[in-house]
Subunit: 447 residues, 2 copies
């Protein structure tokens, strides 16, 4: 941590309503101690060294991420959904050794750190979850991570015994929840209702209630087949079923919620359940368009997520902001729908609420020092009429040059300082070779 | 031109079906003279110096671009469509001086050259079109450009007399069509049916027929209000009306075509009219989802375009490829819809067909030497399972490091060699200041 303090100067986008041109953010330890006009902040903290970036923003919160799917980036592009999941993504997850899981997690966290995500609500895999917790802890990202549980109708290598799944979850909660200076927390993570027994789902609620601050993170109502399966088995719609078994509430994050009916939306609103909108994933997997405008109208807290590299194909949070707004606009046939301010809130404060970290998602005195700095020295950023809308519609993760989490500098002047990025990439690329699909286009002569 | 020859080596994506790993492209003068395995190509051209890039692809063709709207990037984000057009974009176009038009055009061409677009079908403005022609010619991009004609119901500063609009068009055709070694060609460019009289539209066809190789480029059926207006005036649907006045055919490029009925689609197919799909623009302006799958099924040639910076907000052709596929997938609720190969064809060969340049859009012996080189040394490109799908789903214009048009190197190792990029950006930013909307968020203190 910056025990000695640091002043970050530039155009400060403190939150969706507050832009300070020629501003600064002072950080001491793991906290922001001042935000305001550069002159004032530097006067208050004259001994703090100064670093300048064109634009400073709160670190982005990835509200639904699969970091450990990173080795499968592009593994099944353009594939039919069930083939995508059962022939490619799940077998890949099942086959990962501890060492490969570590490499996959590091690749995911590296991409997030480089491109401006400072907190992730991260859906791991069934096995080797310790590897991801250790990687996140060591690389310095903030996260709410959880080992996946699958105790029903799951492929070989992933299918677990219910008791063992819950016991392993509890072991990990005890080991990692609140670890690394409380930067890393736990989310009990049943995969989705289709692959979890009632006992597993109810057990998830029991564990979350037993440990203070532990959250619940699962997929819900991403596509219509999933809903039909749950309905056939339980007689209830997916979110109704999750509600029935205790998996709604202010400590629950449901990814997707593309297909929900009136009653389910009432449940989400009444229980304070958080929804994570994953527009690129919903488009690429052709799941559908989530009714985000309606959720926001009902006061449901909506976060934003990239999902995993096999369905995105990147973890770039700025491209995701752009996508989030554009998809809602074309769906509503109304260009005023979900403007930049609302998107920026989804990607920052709303995500922080979903993750359960207080004092997170704005640049504000007394708040946690998760700060990202971007360059605007690119043609794409010329001119900038409104910095907030630039961030949502034109910026890219590629513009991020500075990343700080909990007062710790993870990236500076475009270079990740907490790890050897080149080494992480080459190790990951090596492990990933085994997943290259056999029907990939064969190299040939172009003559 | 490279009279002395050049060998470009790397993974060569010659077209949507042909990938040569450890390949090379040899260029002499303005032509590709060899494509194949690196070893073979270097053996054939031992005297050519070699430059290596991770991936080499055909230059992208921007099938519908407004380069001169670049000063208005982000000028009216999240605005209602008619406000966007009549309160912001058209007044900006109307107000541009010759010097500002030049700065705007240079900014647009710079962004395209930097991010991989080597040919643009470019919709200029009513006045000062010479400035854009000169800028395109000097910066080295390939283009089919046209002065916009607006002789009906148009705002002050844009409304023209019909005769004068057609006469000015003919003057520009004579001056610029086939100029700069035939790298720059002309497209007669009535803005759209709403703002052009029948005389102007029929005059467009007459000019295009009179000059060999001149094309016609206009907007068509982008949104439903436009169609209702045309129908009220002519008793015909928009594309039917354009067909009636002669603006369909193999030399015609219609941007958007979001809303067309069965008869209009038959007309497009029967006449060989080209359609440019602009997914980001159609999303941001909430125009709708163009029926691209149906167009492709009918054999209509579909190109891809970024439209203008006020409605995109970038000219990044790789983000546009991603968007093009993702939007069709979610619309069809089918993840196999419009796969990477088809998108890559839209962005290259289909665009070249629309632009009317033969031997363009593939890396092929005897074809024009428009070549782009990308880096894959980024986390976002790790791993790559299939290079073609990487280009469509994960690559960004930011990855482009090399750009060649007609055998001329415009960008090398990430630096534009034909202009001072920094100077173009700062001049553009200065001119753009006057367009900052008055209701932009006011800078304030975040305390």
């Amino acid at each position: 941590m910056n025990e000695s303090g640091l002043c970050l100067s530039g155009t400060v986008v403190a939150d969706s309503q507050t832009v300070v041109h020629d501003g600064a953010v002072a950080v001491e330890g793991s906290e922001i101690v001042a935000v305001g006009a550069r002159e004032d902040v530097l006067e208050r903290y004259p001994d703090f060294p100064e670093q300048s970036y064109d634009v400073l923003v709160p670190g982005v919160v990835g509200g639904h991420i699969h970091s450990v799917q990173s080795l499968g980036r592009g593994i099944a592009d353009d594939a039919e959904l069930l083939d995508w999941l059962f022939d490619h993504v799940l077998p890949m997850e099942a086959s990962l050794s501890a060492e490969e899981m570590r490499a996959a997690a590091e690749l995911g966290y590296l991409e997030m750190i480089e491109s401006g995500t400072t907190t992730c609500i991260d859906h791991l895999s069934v096995s080797h979850a310790d590897e991801a917790f250790e990687a996140a802890g060591e690389l310095g990202i903030r996260g709410v991570l959880g080992k996946v549980m699958m105790d029903k109708d799951s492929p070989d290598g992933l299918q677990e015994d219910t008791e063992e799944a819950l016991a392993e979850t509890e072991r990990l909660v005890q080991k990692y929840h609140g670890s690394f200076d409380d930067r890393i927390r736990y989310a009990v993570t049943p995969r989705f209702a289709v692959s979890c027994t009632e006992e597993c789902l109810r057990g998830s609620r029991r564990i979350a209630d037993e440990y203070d601050g532990v959250r619940i993170h699962t997929h819900a109502s991403e596509n219509q087949d999933e809903i039909a399966t749950v309905e056939a088995e339980t007689g209830m719609r997916n979110v109704e079923w999750l509600h029935e078994v205790g998996l709604t509430g202010e400590d629950v994050v449901l990814a997707h919620c593309v297909w929900t009916d009136e009653r389910e939306r009432e449940i989400l609103a009444e229980t304070g359940t958080h929804v994570t909108y994953c527009p690129s994933s919903n488009m690429k997997l052709a799941s559908g368009v989530a009714p985000i405008v309606d959720y926001l109208d009902r006061g449901i807290n909506v976060a934003l997520g990239n999902d995993g590299p096999p369905c995105n194909n990147t973890l770039d949070p700025f491209t995701e902001m752009r996508q989030a707004s554009l998809l809602q606009k074309v769906e509503a046939l109304d260009p005023e729908t979900v403007p930049a301010e609302e998107i920026f809130e989804m990607a920052t404060v709303n995500g922080a609420r979903a993750a359960g970290f207080d004092r997170l998602g704005k640049l504000k005195e007394g708040w946690r020092a998760d700060v990202v700095g971007l360059s605007t020295d690119v043609t794409r950023a010329t001119p900038i009429h409104d910095v907030l809308s630039h961030l949502v519609f034109a910026a890219r993760g590629d513009d991020v040059e500075f990343t700080m989490v909990d007062g710790e500098v993870l990236q500076q002047e475009g270079t990740v300082t907490v790890a050897d990025a080149e080494e992480i990439r080459s190790r990951a690329a090596e492990f990933a070779e085994q997943y290259t699909p056999e029907d990939a286009p064969v190299a040939g002569s172009a003559d």
